[in-house]
């Protein structure tokens, strides 16, 4: 249904809008990846690392007290927070580092927003003894200091990006500038289902393990498929990873949760579907936040990982064919969910994942007790303690 047809397109979204110098490296990567996709040895190595290094499978947890408090559908949590390094990002990092090694690259480039992808990349680079450079917006460096320290410990070099909004978008541009200059020895390990083809497809494939496991686990735990899947959407890798293996199960509703930020005013949120329109940013055609002249708008979210002006192209497609729908959750709602989950379930979620939890809580109350919601808890919240504690003090 949602396969890539025209080169790198999902319906009319996606593509490869890259400067010519990157076209050669992108085409080479595409060809190499499509070989590895069918290479049994490569796939076995990937699965083995997921098991022995990442610690998969991650559990599926029934959030019984949260369910009780919401008074509706049963809420299950897919525990990506329990994966090594504390978020789903490691699944993709493991897959791509294997590609990089097989391509003979010695140096790994990555961008990061919340720092989770940077940490995941620094981790796999350390494991395989590769040099690692992570670009991170200066604003994000300040709000995710702990992850910066982790990356340093892992031997990566974190480069502050001071251009533009000093967040994820600017880190992506800077990583692409590095790659275009050092493509011969470097591999660009992009962290979300974004950017020029083949990244959206490849990152999705490496994240599908989330949905594949969750589908088996819910069948085992509940004897049936869930009524609704809920996941947060920054670029959209954890959500597409959860959704994709359920696409053929048309009775399963899918909801992506964007960052509603402070308000619906331009510059105060990152809700690309509500506040955006079709355009091209950083290599892919999708919904983006832009002004009437096609300049990219500033974004805001309390969670650095959702603070990005474009949404992954496959999500735009799933929305268009009405297979998935998308909503947004405000900063304060996410903060509240963060606290609730900690108190009720003994799980401190990432602020990104808290957006999904917040919507699940609303949604559960609208559904019946015999219905099931499956939430992707994409990461853990240790990195967000400072942000949350500051908010607590000021509110």
């Amino acid at each position: 249904m949602s396969s890539v047809n025209r080169v790198g397109y999902f319906g009319s979204y996606g593509g490869r809008f890259a400067p010519e110098t990157l076209m050669g490296p992108l085409i080479e990567l595409e060809a190499f990846y499509s070989r590895m996709k069918r290479d049994a040895q490569f796939q076995a190595e990937y699965l083995d690392l997921l098991k022995t290094f990442v610690g998969r499978k991650t559990p599926l947890t029934l959030a019984s007290r949260l369910t009780e408090v919401c008074g509706g559908a049963k809420i299950f949590l897919k525990r990506e927070d329990l994966a090594h390094t504390g978020a789903h990002k490691i699944n993709n990092a493991v897959g791509q580092i294997l590609l990089a090694r097989r391509m003979g690259k010695k140096r790994i480039i990555a961008e990061t927003g919340a720092g989770q992808h940077g940490v995941a990349t620094a981790t796999v680079a350390a494991k395989f003894g590769l040099e690692c450079v992570v670009y991170m917006g200066k604003v994000d460096i300040e709000r995710q200091a702990q992850n910066v320290q982790r990356m340093n410990l892992l031997g990566a070099r974190v480069v502050p990006v001071t251009s533009g909004t000093q967040t994820l978008k600017d880190a992506v541009s800077e990583a692409m500038r590095d790659w275009v200059t050092h493509y011969q020895e470097s591999y660009y390990l992009l962290g979300s289902a974004l950017g020029p083809h083949p990244y959206p497809e490849m990152v999705r494939d490496f994240q599908r393990v989330i949905g594949i496991e969750a589908r088996e686990q819910i069948l085992e735990a509940a004897g049936r498929l869930p009524d609704e899947l809920i996941a947060c959407v920054g670029g959209g890798s954890n959500s597409i990873g959860l959704f994709h293996p359920f696409l053929a199960d048309t009775q399963v509703k899918m909801t992506g949760v964007e960052a509603g930020g402070r308000s619906s005013k331009p510059g105060e949120h990152a809700a690309r579907f509500e506040g955006g329109s079709v355009g091209v940013l950083q290599g892919t055609q999708s919904f983006i936040l832009q002004d009437q002249n096609g300049q990219i708008l500033n974004t805001h979210s309390i969670s650095a990982g959702l603070d990005y002006a474009a949404i992954g192209p496959e999500h735009a497609f799933l929305r268009e064919i009405k297979r998935a729908n998308y909503v947004s959750i405000r900063d304060h709602e996410a903060l509240q969910a963060f606290r609730e989950l900690a108190r009720l379930e003994g799980i401190i979620p990432a602020l990104e994942s808290s957006h999904a939890v917040a919507y699940a809580m609303k949604r559960a109350a609208e559904l019946q007790p015999d219905q099931i919601i499956l939430v992707n808890l994409s990461g853990r919240g240790d990195k967000d303690l400072n942000t949350v504690l500051q908010q607590g003090a000021s509110s």
């Binding site: 010519e20 500038r177 990219i296």
Partner: protein, 260 residues
């Protein structure tokens, strides 16, 4: 096919200016000055908030100008400049998103009406440009596509075919910005492309002084100088800055006319 219209053995001098850097009046002054100093074509950069193919100098200028100068404004600038400099060839250098926002067909019509000679869309490779090329062909505005050291010969053929004005060869793998010397393989690369096309080939990225321009003029039909001019304006559009622009423009014009 020659790119300069000043006769044989003359290579086109193509300065690049970010429109609206630091303001639109300055851009008009720069255009006057560069034409006076013998520019054959001028590349006008359409400001964009996320100029990922550009190095820090142009990126910063572009980001700043993006808040004051839209694609619409750039088209108006071209129109105004052409009232004074009838027939002069302006090439727009832009990212694709402002064009998509305006609509490809609308953009082509407006560009034609403003008298734009050609357009280069840095993040629109020929593979993604079918509709755009149709729109441009319909109104007779020419197209320029990039080729670079990472471009395979297989890719080069459609690039050359789809470039109706000239092919822009990126002198090195990387972003825009000044450098000390040109890539040692540049002339071999350009010669290799010449065997496959009759279209003029302009070379840009990193050409920052007369010496480098002279070197490139041996092998190219046009020499694009961008960041070096934009960098001068970082101090503001002072008289001293404009003088420096004039000095550099002369140096490069001399290098492109008297090469042997």
């Amino acid at each position: 096919m020659s790119l300069s219209e000043r006769g044989p053995n003359t290579v086109a001098f193509i300065p690049f200016v970010v429109a609206g850097d630091p303001d639109q009046d300055t851009t008009l002054k720069m255009i006057d000055l560069l034409i006076e100093e013998g520019a054959d074509l001028i590349e006008l950069g359409v400001p964009f908030s996320d100029a990922l193919a550009d190095g820090p100098v142009i990126q910063f200028a572009s980001e700043k100008a993006a808040s004051t100068t839209s694609l619409d404004d750039v088209l108006k600038l071209v129109k105004r400049a052409r009232e004074k400099h009838a027939g002069f060839r302006f090439v727009l250098f832009t990212y694709v998103n402002p064009i998509l926002r305006m609509g490809e067909e609308e953009f082509a019509a407006r560009a034609s009406e403003a008298g734009v000679y050609a357009v280069l869309v840095v993040d629109l490779p020929p593979d993604e440009s079918v509709v755009y090329r149709e729109c441009m062909a319909k109104v007779n505005v020419k197209t320029v596509f990039l080729a670079s050291p990472t471009t395979s010969l297989e890719r080069f053929d459609p690039i050359a075919r789809d470039s109706t004005a000239f092919v822009y060869y990126v002198s090195r793998a990387g972003v825009t910005g000044v450098q000390e010397k040109m890539s040692s393989t540049l002339s071999v690369e350009v010669k290799r492309l010449r065997e496959r096309t009759d279209k003029p080939i302009a070379v840009g990225f990193g050409i920052s002084n007369g010496g480098l321009a002279r070197e490139v003029a041996q092998i190219a039909d046009g020499v694009v100088v961008g960041s070096a001019f934009v960098k001068i304006l970082e101090q503001g559009a002072t008289l001293a800055a404009l003088d420096q622009v004039r000095v550099l423009a002369r140096e490069i014009r001399t290098a492109t006319r008297n090469h042997s």
